[in-house]
């Protein structure tokens, strides 16, 4: 529910006591704020009220009969009675009714111990049942998809899950069937509840009717400890609560916050905790054995690893060689800051980049003025989305945009990608930014402009240039939201993991910032921008990089040219990889260091709005895995640099001290009610560069198809592949093409095709299964990224399709 904007409150009488409430607010919420809990099952603050369970009936003076508190809005002067004998009798009656057919198998139910039905029965129930007849029976439990089981015997028919599916997720695949006493929740025949948000129905189920397969029978509520944290799955930064038992993460639940996620999580965010406990984690530092064959590593101690790296740095620096780092989007702000400081102070270079040439220009991301936050969506006069398919890449952001558009009626323009979760709700869809005409925008009111990279084959600089041009044209009305995908990539850019930026959204040549840094950082680093990821790898291919740190990144998968990335790593004399898992990059490493990751490291992260939120450590990292920050500090101290940053808390204090946009960010600001919403960082002092804009006619010449490469929700990334419950869910190697294009090319849906770059230098040559999708614009071939072996993506590529018989 959108928050009522009005600040004025009116008096109402609640059980004879005068309290203040917002007019229009639902009685059940107003009462709760005033300290009176009215029992409920079907009502959920983020769902449309239906008043079905009848548990919240109260008496309202002047209104006939009992009124559902979840449906009646507050009016000035209304007299509400929640504790009368009639209300209590009805509450007991409803609970007795609900329990008639409930199996009471609490001892074997996942919900037992944290079950609203149990709790309400204890607080409001009649104590015993008078039911001696036979209970209703259903087959139990039945899967509704790969992650969720449905036990209809336990169901109390509150319609929370069905409302979530249709109203919130927009996947109306859960419905009621039959009626009366046979009323049951069901999926459609041969149509599972295929939603990226299916885990939410488990969380909002007020009984144990919906249980998650990954968590099922793993623990009892009294055996777990819980910590609130921020999801690391993508850059949205959903809040959640992490459950741990015996030093294993076993569950992640959404936590409601008004600013970002409203308590929702996507299934990847919800279930990806499994990877943290994967057996494939790196647990000891590894060194390549010089004599042995490739891939032969030997285990070494941390002390030895640190010493060897330090020596190498000393040697390279002495010889005037080059050190560079790519990656860092996985890190917390504090770790990213440590890496940023380490590269500048210890290695004396600006050759750092947390993006793998697959995002947006960092100066655009850090330098955007007049920024939008997620809560601006519903208030905007229009939303313009020029970016990726939010449903696939930033799922909960998709939910928030969808809510603004579908439930609040904000018009939406979508500019690319070919097929998106939001195109169905858009007022109009444009293939390319060049095709969009600002004349279509309403003449007044805020324009929220969400800008991301539509496709890995799209020119990112042209995209940001277009966005800046549109912003300039519309002036102050535009609220800009640059969006990147990887977990803490926005925080990493803010911490200076970009060749042109220093911590705090300032450029490397910003004199004031450099002065301030000089007081804290001991060490020299150049005032000119360093190399970005592509330039680093280019230089590496030419043998010009002597030490390359690859931090929580896999350029062989994510860099658009995996062939070049591989050559770059092969030709770099000393490659240090810090990661959680062996990857294709670790195969080319000289040193592999086991890192501690999400759930194991505390600190802060910054989401795509620039909202700083805390992450919590709930389990200890496996084996000898350690925080990246600790690694950089130890190497620095081995080189006799007084690095500081001994703890995340100390690092955050230093960030607040030296990073302009992070001034005033401190742990104390995360406490209390307001702190739940995180802390928004200030605007930067970065003037985004512009380049040549898109060509007006973006359609490729010749017979080729325009290549679109977007991310799919389920891919081969660590978050998915290292989770037993998720690894089977990816769609696999497919390409999507408009059915008319397929018909014209004489290719049948579901057959095998070869996708070839028209430019032989492009080296793209893929074998894929073709899927007809009418949402893909004509003349486009859409290839989901990271479903199979990586392939070369050329910006602006045009491709041909060949049928394989």
């Amino acid at each position: 529910m959108p928050e009522n904007d009005t600040l004025s409150t009116v008096p109402i009488s609640l059980d004879g006591r005068e309290v203040q409430a917002s007019p229009g607010q639902l009685l059940i919420a107003a009462a709760e704020e005033a300290g009176v809990y009215i029992p409920r099952f079907c009502w959920h603050p983020r769902l449309r009220p239906v008043a079905m369970c009848r548990m919240c009936l109260v008496e309202v003076e002047g209104m006939r009969g009992l009124q559902p508190a979840c449906y009646v809005p507050v009016k000035e002067g209304m007299e509400v009675r929640t504790q009368t004998p009639l209300v209590k009798k009805v509450q007991e009656g409803v609970l007795e009714f609900l329990l008639l057919n409930h199996p009471l198998d609490c001892p074997v139910c996942d919900r037992g111990g944290e079950c609203p039905l149990q709790d309400h029965t204890m607080s409001f129930g009649p104590g015993e049942s008078r039911f001696v007849e036979e209970k209703r029976h259903f087959e139990k439990p039945v899967p509704i998809n790969n992650l969720v089981l449905l036990d209809r015997e336990r169901c109390i028919q509150c319609a929370r899950c069905t409302r979530f599916a249709s109203d919130v997720a927009g996947d109306p695949l859960l419905e009621f069937a039959s009626r009366g006493n046979d009323l049951q929740v069901t999926v459609f025949p041969d149509e599972p509840f295929s939603s990226y948000f299916s885990g939410n129905v488990v969380q909002i189920c007020p009984v144990g009717a919906l249980t998650s397969i990954p968590y099922r029978f793993k623990a009892r509520p009294w055996d777990v400890t819980i910590a609130e944290t921020t999801c690391g799955g993508c850059a949205v930064g959903c809040r959640g609560a992490l459950s741990e038992t015996r030093n294993r993460l076993i569950r992640f639940l959404g936590v409601d916050n008004d600013a970002v996620s409203w308590g929702w999580l996507c299934d990847k965010g919800r279930f990806a905790y499994e990877y943290v406990g994967s057996e494939n984690r790196l647990t000891v530092p590894l060194f390549r054995e010089e004599t042995a064959a490739a891939d032969a590593f030997s285990e070494v101690s941390w002390a030895e690893a640190v010493e060897r790296i330090a020596e190498q740095i000393q040697e390279v620096k002495g010889a005037g060689g080059n050190i560079a780092a790519i990656g860092g989007a996985r890190l917390t702000n504090e770790e990213a800051y440590s890496l940023s400081k380490f590269m500048r102070v210890v290695c004396g270079t600006n050759d750092v980049d947390c993006q793998l040439d697959d995002g947006l220009p960092a100066d655009f991301v850090a330098g955007a003025r007049n920024r939008a936050v997620i809560n601006d969506f519903a208030k905007a006069s229009v939303i313009v989305l020029a970016g990726p398919d939010l449903k696939e890449e930033l799922p909960v952001l998709y939910l928030r945009v969808r809510d603004a558009v579908v439930n609040q009626g904000v018009p939406l323009f979508v500019i690319g990608p070919p097929q998106s979760g939001l195109t169905d709700f858009a007022k109009k869809v444009f293939d390319t930014p060049a095709a969009f005409d600002p004349v279509l925008l309403p003449i007044a009111g805020d324009v929220v402009l969400i800008v991301g990279r539509q496709s890995a084959a799209q020119d990112a600089e042209a995209q940001s240039t277009w966005a800046l041009g549109l912003s300039e044209q519309l002036g102050e009305r535009v609220k800009l939201l640059p969006i990147l995908r990887r977990s803490n990539v926005h925080g990493a850019i803010d911490m200076g993991l970009s060749p042109s930026l220093l911590p705090g959204r300032v450029t490397v040549d910003d004199l004031e910032a450099r002065e301030r840094l000089a007081q804290v950082w001991e060490g020299e680093f150049p005032p000119d921008p360093g190399r970005d990821c592509r330039e680093i790898l280019d230089a590496a291919v030419e043998g010009k990089i002597d030490i390359l740190f690859v931090v929580g990144a896999d350029p062989l998968t994510d860099f658009p040219d995996p062939v070049m990335a591989r050559r770059a790593l092969e030709r770099t004399s000393f490659v240090v990889v810090l990661d959680l898992f062996p990857s294709s990059a670790t195969r080319f490493a000289d040193v592999v260091l086991p890192a501690a990751g999400w759930g194991e490291v505390s600190g802060t992260v910054t989401n795509l709005e620039g909202r700083v939120q805390r992450v919590a450590a709930k389990v200890t990292a496996p084996g000898q895995a350690a925080s990246d920050a600790q690694v950089f500090r130890e190497i620095a101290e081995h080189l006799e640099v007084d690095f500081g940053c001994g703890t995340p808390e100390a690092t955050l204090r230093e960030i607040a001290q030296v990073a302009p946009a992070y001034q005033g960010v401190s742990l104390s600001r995360f406490r209390g009610k307001k702190g739940k919403e995180g802390v928004l960082v200030g605007e930067g002092r970065v003037a985004p560069r512009t380049s040549s804009p898109f060509e007006k006619d973006a359609r490729p010449l010749g017979n080729g198809f325009r290549l679109h490469v977007g991310r799919a929700f389920w891919d081969r990334g660590t978050l998915v592949s290292e989770c037993p419950s998720l690894s089977g869910l990816r769609p696999g190697p497919i390409v999507r093409v408009h059915p008319e294009d397929l018909a014209f090319a004489g290719i049948t849906d579901g057959s095998s095709v070869r996708v070839l770059d028209e430019d032989p230098a492009g080296r793209l040559d893929l074998l894929r299964t073709v899927v007809a999708d009418e949402r893909v614009p004509l003349g486009t071939v859409s290839v989901p990224h990271n479903q199979d072996e990586p392939f070369v993506i050329r910006v602006g590529a045009t491709v041909t399709l060949e049928r394989i018989d």
Partner: protein
């Protein structure tokens, strides 16, 4: 006896009353022409108000007043005619649709003119295939001669009628459930406000009226509201069709003036109780109504009087039971109906109606316990607190309380019949003869 408003044509022309030709010969569509050519919509509305006509669907709300709830300036607006007659013992709308569909069509057109609605929907119960065909045919005939469609009667009034065949759920006779069902959604009653008059079909202002209500409109327009109001009683004017069933010698549909007593209905029209017996109990207004015993035989058929007596005239279904009727068994059968037809939305009705059925079934099966009478009362009370009529309810719509009314009203009237079930003196459900247990079968063509 006042003249027959609703059933005259089917009595006069038993073999073709449903055809346009026959209808034309019996003043057919004169009311419509009078309305659209000689009256303003406001004047038609005023006549309906003056007639005092009260809705014939069950609630008995004054029709003219209901029309007045439609916001003045919101268009389009719809008239939806409720032909989802499903209340056990009720079979009058089916007869009207089968035998006199043109009076329904004419009534709809007149009402649409008064409401300034250009589209009406007739929602017909799925089981009534014959009625559906007759109504579809009538609409087609009326369209062919220009009563339905553009510029009716040479005026600028246009009106379309869509006939919808429902899928046979009793709950869809509840007006908001009907609107949901008609719009393609699950047939569940909606929360009010908003009321249908403000936000109904497709979220537009909508008036929902019963078939019989509509069939009165041609007469009222032709003869005037004042003439209509002269029939019947002051607060319940006009005539009504009563569906008389059960243990009478001549069950059937009877159009009689309101104000007649039940005794007269049973003796004059029903030709007395079968086999010379006596009335033990009767249901005065459809399966949802609390029952009466013989002491209420001289109560007049008047909506307000029945309300004061603790029941209702409802849909006009009167079911008579003689001295041999097994009251708990008959009640069980009605409760079984309501449990089966509960939509399942609200907990008390979904769970409670079924539980009532199971308790009664267990008692009838010879497993009654002394505490079961209190239990029945209390379960009813948890669905309909206070056990009064008109009922308080813990549910969204009145189906829940309806399921309780036969139970608590008969336990109060005939406690000994229930006590017999808890002392073990009763034969089992399986072995006892079903004869007489249910209201006797009656046909609409009686």
């Amino acid at each position: 006896m006042a003249e027959l408003v609703l059933t005259r044509r089917m009595l006069d022309r038993p073999h073709d009353s449903w055809t346009l030709d026959a209808y034309h010969e019996m003043e057919g569509y004169q009311g419509l022409y009078r309305a659209v050519r000689e009256m303003t919509p406001e004047q038609v509305h005023a006549e309906v108000k003056a007639s005092g006509l009260r809705g014939r669907g069950g609630a008995g709300f004054p029709t003219g007043t209901k029309w007045g709830f439609v916001p003045k300036d919101i268009f389009p607006r719809y008239l939806v005619v409720n032909g989802d007659e499903g209340e056990p013992g009720t079979f009058k709308d089916r007869m009207l649709m089968e035998r006199d569909p043109h009076s329904l069509v004419e009534g709809i057109l007149i009402s649409c003119y008064a409401l300034q609605s250009e589209h009406a929907f007739i929602y017909i119960r799925g089981e009534m295939g014959h009625a559906y065909e007759r109504v579809v045919r009538a609409v087609e005939e009326a369209r062919a001669v220009g009563y339905v469609g553009k510029d009716i009667g040479g005026t600028d009034f246009s009106c379309e009628i869509t006939v919808h065949k429902a899928a046979g759920a009793y709950i869809c006779g509840e007006e908001t459930a009907l609107l949901s069902s008609l719009a393609g959604y699950r047939g569940w009653p909606r929360l009010r406000p908003p009321f249908p008059a403000v936000k109904g079909l497709y979220d537009k202002p909508t008036v929902v009226n019963n078939v019989e209500t509509m069939c009165n409109m041609p007469w009222i327009t032709r003869r005037g509201g004042a003439a209509y109001a002269e029939m019947g009683t002051e607060r319940s004017p006009g005539t009504r069709i009563f569906c008389l069933s059960g243990h009478v010698n001549r069950p059937g549909n009877y159009e009689i003036e309101l104000g007649t007593t039940f005794r007269e209905l049973f003796e004059r029209w029903g030709q007395g109780v079968r086999n010379g017996g006596r009335v033990k109990a009767f249901v005065p207004g459809g399966a949802s109504a609390p029952w009466f015993d013989a002491s209420k035989l001289d109560v007049p058929l008047d909506m307000d009087v029945l309300g004061k007596e603790g029941s209702m005239l409802g849909s006009g279904a009167v079911m008579v039971m003689d001295q041999d009727a097994d009251i708990p068994r008959a009640v069980w059968r009605l409760v079984k109906f309501f449990a089966h037809e509960s939509c399942g939305q609200c907990t008390p009705c979904r769970e409670g109606a079924d539980w009532l059925e199971e308790i009664l079934e267990r008692m009838l099966d010879g497993h009654g316990r002394p505490q079961d009478l209190d239990l029945l009362f209390d379960v009813c009370d948890n669905i309909s607190p206070g056990l009064n009529w008109p009922p308080a309810q813990t549910t969204i719509c009145p189906l829940g309380p309806s399921a309780t009314a036969p139970v608590w009203s008969t336990i109060r009237l005939f406690p000994e019949e229930y006590k017999r079930l808890v002392t073990g003196a009763h034969t089992s459900l399986a072995s006892s003869a079903p004869a007489g247990a249910e209201p006797a079968g009656v046909t609409a063509d009686a």
